[in-house]
Symmetry: C2
Subunit: 154 residues, 2 copies
DNA sequence: TGTGAAATCTGCCAAGA
DNA sequence: TCTTGGCAGATTTCACA
């Protein structure tokens, strides 16, 4: 039992399906739907958590209610000798940066930005991002409408 | 009370901060930290839910434990006369597609893909995505490592 | 908006088949 | 790995300040 492939049976899948849909689903409610006791569900959950398969739970906020309407992806080109970690550190300080990836291909770094509107995006790029030392150029793709948003299926 | 800007006071922010960090934080625990009664927290939560500010809660699965290690962003070029909705419908049937956006700029559609490895990604692109009628060409950016992953701050 | 109290439901542990 | 039993604590509602 040193290294292990995790094998999920139907019950595990049902538990995960319920909790990935709504993290506050009562365990006893799942137990009723699945047909085993709450304590058993609880034991399985502890197993799943130990296996790192579940990495947490979150309330999902709706950005539009806060007035955040412009989602954009920005590819970043760096100078050759730039220390990427410094760039990432600078990007972390910008709250609008939701994701940041080191990438292959055209760009060195690729980020996802959430802004109030296009003007806010432009302002961010011009005054906060393109001014970071080491960043040469950026290329933006603006999302007009998001059609799919989900996790891996189980 | 027809249209309303939502004003969050310090208590609302503490509630949201606790629940966006861990959706299963007990309400009474938040109540203790904030210094008001559990019933009051409950009332505020109902208000926040009604305002659509909270759009749900989710358990976060760890894709790496399932063997999913390659995250990629793919820009898609469509033929001019293509009905985008048909394309999106086809993309929805591919479980590896986690996000899908209509976009401005170079691409017509932009997606986020989660695959087992690079071979799986290539296979997906060649056999499932580029074969969708209307798709002319795709351009991929592969994430080597994700450094930031978060929601909007409150 | 807040509180406190009451009724009900959950979370979680232990012991055992 | 399941079940039962049980208690502490959580959720939820309500009348009232």
């Amino acid at each position: 039992m040193k290294s292990k492939t995790i094998i999920l049976d139907g019950i595990d899948k049902k538990i995960l399906k319920a909790l990935t849909a709504d993290a506050r689903t009562p365990i006893l409610e799942i137990a009723r739907n699945v047909g085993i006791s709450g304590a058993a569900i609880h034991q399985r959950l502890r197993k799943l958590e130990k296996s790192k398969l579940i990495s947490g739970s979150k309330f999902i906020l709706n950005p539009k209610v806060f007035g955040y309407n412009t989602l954009a992806f920005v590819g970043i080109y760096l100078e050759h000798a730039t220390n990427s970690e410094t760039i990432v550190k600078a990007l972390k300080r910008i709250p609008e940066v939701l994701e940041c990836h080191y990438t292959t291909g055209h760009y060195n770094i690729f980020i996802k930005l959430l802004c109030i509107d296009n003007a806010h995006l432009m302002h961010l790029l011009n005054t906060k991002i393109q001014t970071i030392p080491g960043i040469i150029r950026t290329e933006s793709v603006i999302s007009l409408d998001q059609q799919i948003d989900r996790q891996i299926q189980i």
